[in-house]
């Protein structure tokens, strides 16, 4: 997993509440056998006039010009602003896969749905929770200023705007440790490799039929 330390990047404002995982990545893409390649289909229904299908070439699809992700000034965004309860609905892990594949590795919102929030950490995305007032500041400034970039610093748990305004956020210690070091759950468990080997050695003696 890619480590997350400090991210300075272009911000895209998605001004909607209760964005569900079916909107993030529609169900037809769940038939795919991959965990990459979902980026072009992120928010498929909102981004395109037609209905996307797995593996299709998106370069010539008719786009919905008014959707934020399609506006020229937001191309290359790494940070997304959203409203409350982002990522609700089905538990599909394809949602964070799609966001990451698109190039966004930090989502800032006043609240997140539980499973999605958890799935973000498992996949190297930092979900940041700020207050409604702080969100309003970010939304207003992002929309007002072309090329608006902010800095998200996981170590100090801060979000800093270009004018130097600084907001702090909470993050679980264990999750923070994993993200900072690029450790997914597997990486963390593998740190206990010696324990696992010792356990197996003992069990091979006491319960050989298991091996």
């Amino acid at each position: 997993m890619q480590a997350f330390t400090i991210l300075n990047g272009l911000v895209v404002p998605l001004d909607r509440a209760n964005v569900d995982t079916d909107a993030i990545i529609p169900k037809q893409f769940l038939k795919s056998i991959k965990r990459t390649g979902y980026g072009p289909f992120l928010f498929d229904e909102w981004r395109y006039e037609d209905v996307g299908q797995p593996e299709m070439d998106c370069t010539h699809r008719p786009i919905r010009k008014d959707f934020v992700l399609n506006q020229a000034r937001y191309q290359g965004a790494k940070i997304m602003l959203a409203r409350e309860n982002f990522g609700c609905g089905s538990s599909r892990e394809h949602a964070p896969w799609a966001i990451l594949d698109y190039g966004i590795s930090c989502v800032i919102a006043p609240s997140f749905a539980d499973i999605f929030h958890n799935n973000c950490f498992k996949n190297g995305i930092l979900p940041v929770i700020l207050t409604d007032d702080e969100m309003d500041v970010l939304f207003t400034e992002t929309i007002a200023t072309e090329g608006y970039k902010i800095t998200v610093d996981l170590e100090s748990q801060t979000v800093t705007t270009p004018s130097g305004q600084r907001f702090t956020f909470e993050v679980d210690d264990f999750r923070k440790h994993c993200l900072l070091n690029g450790l997914d759950d597997i990486g963390v468990s593998l740190q206990a490799s010696d324990n696992i080997r010792a356990y197996e050695k003992e069990r091979k003696q006491s319960a050989p039929w298991l091996f």
Binding site: S91, E93, K122, I186, S189, I196, Y199, P208, W209, L210
Partner: protein, 467 residues
């Protein structure tokens, strides 16, 4: 200190305790199928990881495989891609796979125990919620998500928090013709689909002891429908007789050693449970679900409920919606409900005993003319072969049932076997959710004997006293 069965097996698998109360739990066996594994294998590849112990995992395709016309291969492109991906991944990572066409192929939860790949006291996982099935062998067995499938492949462990433990005792003798399926549906009707949430359930009592291994698997299979991720039954002679001689079961010296250890796999006499429930076997009548949740279940002698009897607004709303979806009215006697299709199969009821029970009902009868399709889908190639050696396929075919190839089939309608909108089905599977067996399809869960009887009569009927 006195321990429950669950605690005994749990403690034997703790590799390391974490600060937050979770543990790193060692996993003895992972069962793999084509739908929930591809991204896990891709994750390994992206991270450059290898399976920790590739011989701990075993794979077989089941969810998507066609149950007819196998000579044409898989015609559905998505299904074919998933099955081919499974073949390629197993090849690349050195995992044993029972491929399509192998007599050992079938539904993971039928194949695992059948091959002796699941043994008493093991921890077993699979990317499928009905993994609870394997608790019938006194295993800690549970369904997991795709990230966790990858986690187990890479580390042979899982990070888990210990659930609470509940014991459900079914005391007394089960009346004749009452099966594991009726017991499962009855329990869910009593405790509700959230009754087991947060718990591992141990099933105990004389009625459970009297169940065959197949019946116990059916019961544990449906634990997840009661909200519990784990169902378990202690080891006894029935368990040992079932395991003995299976292809992957231990033999000789090691068998003797294993049996000595397995004999300990029961709750100690004075073990304390977080919750305990007592039910009477004599109260159980053949069960039929009427609605869109397994807890919407009544005895065949009963009727759909009256909305007036709903215990609160939420239930009233749920029942109204279920009536509308199922195309049923309040207070309708179950025995008056006519059906369009019959499905005998799934990891709940596609084992040899299930087919014997269904064939005993079907023998010498014909499927009713209003029934458009009655299909029997074996849980594995070996179940199919066994049934054929006993002539059960002939009984089914003569009665007008279709005899299919093994797979999940119409349990979840991922392949071509499905209900059309408004079609009503007597099904031996485990979920009657809206759209489960096809968009708009109406599912009634029953035992194999009840499904066969419904096929013959064209409507639900009490199998007690069947001639």
């Amino acid at each position: 200190m006195a321990k429950t069965l669950f605690e005994k097996v749990w403690q034997q698998h703790v590799v390391k305790a974490n600060d937050d109360g979770s543990v790193l739990l060692y996993i003895d066996r992972q069962l793999v199928h084509e739908v929930t594994s591809p991204q896990a294998f891709e994750g390994l590849r992206i991270a450059g990881r290898k399976p920790w112990r590739s011989n701990a995992s075993v794979a077989t395709p089941d969810h998507n495989v066609p149950t007819t016309g196998l000579e044409h291969g898989i015609t559905d492109a998505v299904a074919r891609t998933q099955v081919e991906a499974l073949d390629a991944n197993c090849e690349e990572f050195g995992i044993t796979e029972f491929k399509m066409g192998d007599i050992r192929q079938g539904i993971v939860h039928v194949v695992g125990p059948e091959q002796g790949l699941v043994l008493p006291g093991m921890t077993v996982v699979c990317g499928d919620s009905h993994t609870s099935t394997h608790g019938a062998l006194a295993a800690i067995a549970t369904g997991i998500g795709t990230s966790e499938v990858e986690h187990v492949l890479a580390t042979q462990t899982l990070i888990q928090k210990k659930p609470k433990v509940m014991r459900i005792n079914v005391d007394g003798d089960l009346p004749e013709t009452i099966t594991g399926k009726d017991v499962a549906l009855y329990i869910i009707g009593q405790i509700g689909t959230a009754g087991g949430t947060g718990f591992a359930i141990e099933f105990a009592g004389s009625a459970i002891r009297a169940l065959s291994m197949e019946g116990r698997m059916t019961l544990c299979n449906m634990t997840i429908e009661a909200g519990a991720r784990f169902g378990m039954i202690a080891v006894d002679d029935v368990t040992l007789d079932y395991v003995k001689g299976r292809p992957s079961a231990p033999t000789g010296e090691i068998w003797t050693q294993a049996v000595a250890a397995w004999r300990e796999l029961h709750s100690d006499a004075d073990a304390i449970f977080d919750k305990e429930i007592h039910l009477k076997a004599a109260d159980i009548v053949p069960q039929v679900t009427w609605g869109t949740s397994p807890e919407m279940v009544v005895p065949i002698t009963g009727s759909t409920p009256s909305l007036m009897d709903a215990k609160d607004d939420v239930q009233h709303e749920g029942w109204s919606r279920a009536f509308a979806y199922m195309g049923l009215k309040e207070n309708t006697p179950m025995a008056e409900i006519a059906i369009d299709k019959v499905f005998i199969g799934s990891c709940t009821n596609a084992r040899i005993e299930d087919f014997r029970a269904a064939a005993a009902i079907a023998k010498g009868h014909k499927v009713a003319s209003n029934v458009k399709l009655a299909m029997v889908v074996p849980g594995s190639g070996l179940v199919k072969a066994q049934a054929e050696s006993e002539g059960l396929d002939v009984i089914f075919k003569e009665a007008g049932f279709e005899w299919r190839e093994p797979g999940c089939s119409m349990c979840l309608a991922m392949n071509a076997d499905r209900l059309e909108a408004k079609e009503r089905c007597a099904s031996t599977s485990n979920r009657n959710f809206e759209g489960r067996q096809g968009a708009g399809g109406r599912t009634h869960l029953v035992s194999p004997a009840m499904a066969a009887a419904a096929a013959i009569k064209g409507h639900f009927v009490d199998v007690r006293g069947w001639k």
